[in-house]
Symmetry: C2
Subunit: 558 residues, 2 copies
Amino acid sequence: MAVKSDIEIARMAQKKPIMEVGAGLGIPAEQLAPYGHDKAKVGADFIRSLADRPDGKLILVTAINPTPAGEGKTTTTVGLGDGLNRIGRKAMICVREPSLGPCFGMKGGAAGGGYAQVIPMEDINLHFTGDFHAITAAHNLLAAMIDNHVYWGNALEIDMRRITWRRAMDMNDRALRQMVGALGGVANGFPRECGFDITVASEVMAILCLAEDFFDLERRLGGIIVAYRRDKSPVFARDLKADGAMAVLLKDAMQPNLVQTLENNPAFVHGGPFANIAHGCNSVIATKTALKLVDYVVTEAGFGADLGAEKFFDIKCRKAGLMPAAAVIVATVRALKMNGGVKKEDLGREDVATLTRGCANLGRHIANVRRFGVPVVVAINHFTTDTDAEVAAVKDYVSRHGADAILCRHWAEGSAGISELAQRVAELADGGQAEFKPLYADAMPLMEKIETVASKIYHAGEVTADKAVRDQLIAWEKQGYGSLPVCIAKTQYSFSTDPSLRGAPEGHVVHVREVRLSAGAGFVVAITGEIMTMPGLPSAPAAERIFLSDEGNVEGLF
Amino acid sequence: MAVKSDIEIARMAQKKPIMEVGAGLGIPAEQLAPYGHDKAKVGADFIRSLADRPDGKLILVTAINPTPAGEGKTTTTVGLGDGLNRIGRKAMICVREPSLGPCFGMKGGAAGGGYAQVIPMEDINLHFTGDFHAITAAHNLLAAMIDNHVYWGNALEIDMRRITWRRAMDMNDRALRQMVGALGGVANGFPRECGFDITVASEVMAILCLAEDFFDLERRLGGIIVAYRRDKSPVFARDLKADGAMAVLLKDAMQPNLVQTLENNPAFVHGGPFANIAHGCNSVIATKTALKLVDYVVTEAGFGADLGAEKFFDIKCRKAGLMPAAAVIVATVRALKMNGGVKKEDLGREDVATLTRGCANLGRHIANVRRFGVPVVVAINHFTTDTDAEVAAVKDYVSRHGADAILCRHWAEGSAGISELAQRVAELADGGQAEFKPLYADAMPLMEKIETVASKIYHAGEVTADKAVRDQLIAWEKQGYGSLPVCIAKTQYSFSTDPSLRGAPEGHVVHVREVRLSAGAGFVVAITGEIMTMPGLPSAPAAERIFLSDEGNVEGLF
């Protein structure tokens, strides 16, 4: 039998009407705003009505450092949610919304894979419920109001050289990275350097994902720093009176999106900030709402655990008061082999020795996650090329580190292939072993926070930074931002800042090239190395192969 | 009793569930994709199934030249639809979607007024069903693919100086009008001049509004000219293989949006191209679908009849094979007085003499619309300041021109205030007097088409144009675009190109400054005077006063 593609599987799904999925969660029809028959937004009044309910258990799915071999973190998140439901637990998943731009570039869409997907896949990957468009609009309204303010006399005395707020577009378009705008004479304003970031890199995205409710959203939007004056004092979005209109634009985007998995289990797909310059998790409001609706909420963090889990714990959980009960670290035999040094073209060959060497990467992630007081289980996401000896080697390695590694076949078999992991996760979560605590205290100085993450999570030997960077951090502390967590933008491919350094490097140097203050979102970004906030398209973009078939199916997106 | 604001009236409305409104039109629930409980998109399969049904009667609502006094064209369109339903006729309206950008600028939102509105007003004025965002994304995907193509070697030999496709954003942002992009070195591409237009000015918008169905949409998108080579041969969107992905992005946007009026009558609100550089009408697919569903379809055209009705007839009806049965010209006593020379601050004073002089503007529009073979009735949209003598003067003037002018009070009274007009319109439409024909034949040379509109509709004495413009038109004729209609971009405030020339000027000179080919949409734009395709924000933008109240209401948008 030929293996079916993700999209073929998704199209075969017997979808439940979304109002029925919502009813299964106890959401009344009038509090569920449908978008078509298979997507809906949960009403704010209903969410407010949940406040007094007890919380379910929060389970984080994270992963080893990604390699070109693929790990299947979202697939495992979806599979685990289905698996928990299969063994009779009331569970749902919370994942991020994919970005539109990259769909037309290299990779096509993504919403899980195989028999562990959220649907409707095409919609989720295209406009979905319009959240990202709303974020783009709110972001660009603020940008327009800045230039407009300067145009009409600049009463706030904005230093035009110090406007930090760029524009946003949900598109891979390298030509927009660096521009000179407002050319063409008096009527078009004052020419200045400007540029666009992709929408997922917008601070508005991070704010939407961290806001507790609509009024917290508005307050955070007002706190965005858009520019500085000549005396270096900050100018806020609220100084421009932009916060109200931005929040209005985000009114619907703020509400969690309910969809379903292939097995008709509920899923929130909501928000999607970058995992480098932002915290890389779905929205707080979706996660918190889900915790009120079911007993187990499975969520994921971006990239590997060094970036994703650390930010999930130190930014999202800290800020939102979430207490994760268990964590799953996803690994594949293939990715561990690459971490050990196997080249992609040699992945088909059994190689237990190199695999075991690569397990060092997994071992460190296990230790790191435990450092946050969260119990861990490893999911080996099965590929057909994995040999028994290889799987045994991983299990053996993990067991020597005091945890279990469980082989999962959810990609091929759906929930039936992941029951054992589900069982183990439920036990862990119910076991009450978790004693979550963030890595550092709020009161720690900003530079020390960066050093703490670098030494304890990355195992770096040293953090370097120019005086200007250190001075900037101190200046922000004086302005009252010292208690914010740090958000380190680092390559996702390594514990170090060198993407080619796989495995578990030690004693490397982390150089902080630049720091940025996301005052509205509430974190300080430390940039190590080159971080691309506006991707480009490849030489043969996926867009060239995307079309609608005569049957009305979207082809080429996946 | 205090007069209620539009938004207060809209909030008091007893909305029917949109599925019920759809059921009233015979649309099965599974062919109606809901967006919330009060908006829905009509499915493509259902629309296809209507092909063999007979068409209802198409009624155009147009107006005299706009003045700062306001005319109430959309209000009258909505009122007339309600009025026809009130007198027992099965009717619906088709109007344009408002643009997001201008809501944050001067004017706030718009969806009719008083007791003649379409609802939900806030949603319609904000993101609605995401159509404009989809158009923006499709537009900008094409733009990204152009620069990306050049970046990766420029196999199509695009002359970078001759890239005509700009970018789009649904925002008033003057800083984006003229830019230099792709700065910053090799990785960002080749620097070049570029800029943004507001989304309603995008050719993608015009295409969506003229396309018969999804496959016609894709074909037209492919025919967009994005650039020229050094030899001046055109490069098309299909050469970049962008048409398929653009069409996929527009898959849902292509489907008409069903909402309702305050009186629970059905309304399609779909598409909204500019009425200067484009044709200014709602989508062909909405109008054609409505004609299959009801006996009377009331629709409107942009600006005054010189621009809006002419383009409705010569572009939309010609291209789509529509046969309008009757037309309503909306006038107000106030606007006619301004056309006669009264200043805005003096509008409160009775002035029959100046009013009668201003009626010349109305008289010419009556004659012009008749020239297309469409019978006319005038709607006097009542303002409380109108005196009996003034109303009588307008009625008398119109009657001397062989038509009826009917006083309408739909703004204050809803359908009850517009029954007489509804009755007269139904008689006209049923009377079979209409013998619609466009103003000029397809075969007429392009320059002659411009001259024909200028002389017959504008009563201009002469059309002037530089040799370059004339040569360009001839070149396009040689390339096979000679049979396209022309779309004249002219000030909406006058029959002439001088916005201060009110009334019915004669013998003026129309200078064609520039011509543009919208090859995908299928018309040639002739630009007379300055046409702004990216508005700016005023010194105190409406955005500063927009916020969400504690009760969850959007405040300040209206």
